[in-house]
């Protein structure tokens, strides 16, 4: 039963992924390029940085980076919380 379910799931997901891969747009022609063009043309003037990726990550979408930094903080506190107990028990 489990094997049958696994085979069905594998087939369905493979078909979905295959159809997606077939219907991908060709490389270099995205459906909407307005935002990319805006970043490329204005990043040097507005954010005054040569590295457009950094100006997107830290300036235009800085809120997302704040979330990423919070994820790291959560990872550190999770490791501390899980292992402090282990270390204390071994003492």
């Amino acid at each position: 039963m489990r094997k049958l379910l696994g085979i069905i799931a594998l087939t369905v997901f493979s078909i979905i992924l295959f159809l997606t891969a077939v219907h991908l747009r060709s490389f270099g022609s995205p459906p909407h390029a307005e935002m990319d063009k805006y970043f490329i043309e204005h990043a040097q003037k507005e954010a005054s940085a040569n590295n457009v990726v950094t100006s997107v990550v830290f300036d235009y979408r800085g809120f997302d980076t704040l979330g990423e930094a919070t994820v790291l903080f959560t990872a550190v506190s999770g490791v501390l919380m899980a292992l402090r107990h282990y270390g204390g028990r071994k003492k």
Binding site: E46, A49, F58, A75, L83, K90
Partner: protein, 154 residues
């Protein structure tokens, strides 16, 4: 424990790795990389230091290093620069760009060799995020090392 070869190579390589990590953090607005990547490189250098030496040496080395303070400075500095942006316009606005403050010189448009004194808030945010990432990753490695090696050495 680790061999003499590993310890000697660590002594030679660690300063180079730390300098390279600092370079990636400080030049985040000019070259590929940034706070996260540079912080990870810096932390891997410190991780090499941690795994190469004995538990006692590592404890001596890292006892005086306030890693949690670094992590807090990184998070609060990032938030502080974001909130200073609110005063100007919106959260995380690049209010230092083109203003003439440190890191505030305008970038010439088009192709240019890259000038360190540009970028506005980006270098500050890179430094804070780099500090946060290196403190966080180093403290994870340090915790794993100190706690899991406990029964081996004592």
């Amino acid at each position: 424990m680790t061999t003499v070869i590993i310890r000697t190579m660590t002594r030679i390589l660690t300063p180079a790795i730390l300098v390279f990590g600092s370079y990636i953090i400080l030049h985040g607005h000019l070259t590929p990389g940034g706070g996260f990547q540079g912080g990870a490189v810096f932390a891997s250098g410190l991780a090499l230091l941690i795994i190469a030496f004995s538990r006692k040496r590592v404890k001596e080395m890292f006892e005086k290093v306030p890693l949690s303070v670094f992590e807090s400075i990184g998070a609060l500095g990032f938030l502080g620069i974001g909130l200073m942006g609110i005063v100007m316009y919106t959260f995380l606005r690049n209010f230092i760009a083109n203003s003439g403050a440190p890191f505030g010189m305008p970038t010439p448009e088009g192709i240019n060799p890259g000038f360190l004194n540009t970028g506005g808030t980006l270098p500050y945010l890179n430094i804070f995020v780099g500090l946060k990432v290196l403190a966080g990753l180093t403290s994870i490695v340090l915790i794993l090392f100190l706690i899991l090696r406990r029964e081996e050495n004592e």
